[in-house]
Amino acid sequence: MADISPASATTPVTHVPAWAWALAAVAVFVLYLLTQENGALLSADKAMYLHELTHDARHALGVPCH
């Protein structure tokens, strides 16, 4: 845990590198695929399969489903 030093304790990081914004965008895109994709991007049968596979989580997470 070399990064817990007096310097890092007094000068907090507030800069988010560009790659991290890209990573967050990819993460949100995967979130969309898991919870909302119903055929807008994938072919109808692939989307249906994904929908059925993540079905219980979609209901449980409260996103609009069916």
Binding site: I4, P12, A24, D56, H59, A60, V63
Partner: protein, 244 residues
């Protein structure tokens, strides 16, 4: 602490939150889903329909929990980016405190507000024809909630020089409650009616179970992230102070 160090801790907190949420899903939500599927089966039997499932129930049970874990990691990553970016603006004197404020805010805006306005539904409720409209209302609810956070922090900044701390904080709460109440009143309602064969008790149990799962996710992500990034967790003698 460098950004990648934050991100590793955020992903770990997200995995912990996702796994806790998956446990709630498997233990609390799934029994209610089973009750709902019985209602659906009875409905299909009345209409003499027989649907061949694309994915078995066992696979849906397993994959549902795995989905919750992946969603937890995604939450952790996005949480980290927002936390680091807003670290000098989130109220709180320690990183644990700030992480908890961010988690409570995220819960209120991204979970509680949509749960009140366009609540979760068990299988057997939800019209195929209206899913796009309901998704639009859902996303709109999230956006209005996020704008509310912006409105409250704008009011807070304006009052910083003009009001004492207690007055400012009380007014922040008033603005937040009025914003949320206005959103609930003015946003369009779900176009769906709940079918008559779905018992009210089942609907209530499902919505409560769904809320429990999402609350567990935010709670664990906030607490674990806060503990992992707070310098005091390992070195109790050093209290980091932000230079505002």
């Amino acid at each position: 602490m460098t950004f990648p160090a934050f991100l590793r801790r955020g992903a770990a907190a997200g995995a912990a939150g996702g796994f806790s949420a998956a446990l709630v899903e498997w233990l609390v939500v799934e029994p209610v889903i089973r009750r709902a599927l019985l209602v659906e089966d009875a409905r299909a039997a009345r209409h003499h329909e027989h649907e061949v499932p694309l994915v078995t129930r066992t696979a849906q049970f397993g994959a549902g929990g795995v989905t919750a874990i992946v969603v937890g990691v995604i939450f952790g990553v996005v949480f980290t980016v927002v936390f680091v970016r807003l670290r000098d603006r989130i109220p709180g004197t320690t990183d644990l405190g700030r992480a908890l404020v961010l988690a409570v805010t995220g819960f209120a805006v991204l979970t509680l507000l949509p749960a009140l306005h366009i609540p979760a539904n068990p299988p057997g409720v939800g019209d195929h024809e209206t899913v796009n409209e309901r998704t639009l209302i859902y996303v709109l609810t999230l956006l209005v909630g996020l704008l509310g956070v912006g409105a409250v922090s704008a009011v807070d900044r304006r009052l910083r020089r003009r009001a004492t701390d207690p007055v400012r904080q009380a007014l922040d709460i008033v603005v937040g409650v009025i914003w949320a109440g206005g959103a609930l009143l003015l946003l369009p309602d779900s176009p769906d009616a709940v079918p008559a064969d779905v018992p009210a008790g089942l609907l209530w149990d499902f919505r409560l179970a769904s809320l429990a799962q999402l609350s567990m996710m935010w709670l664990v992500v906030g607490v674990v992230f806060g503990l992992l990034v707070d310098a005091r967790t390992l070195r109790p003698q050093r209290v980091p102070q932000l230079t505002a």
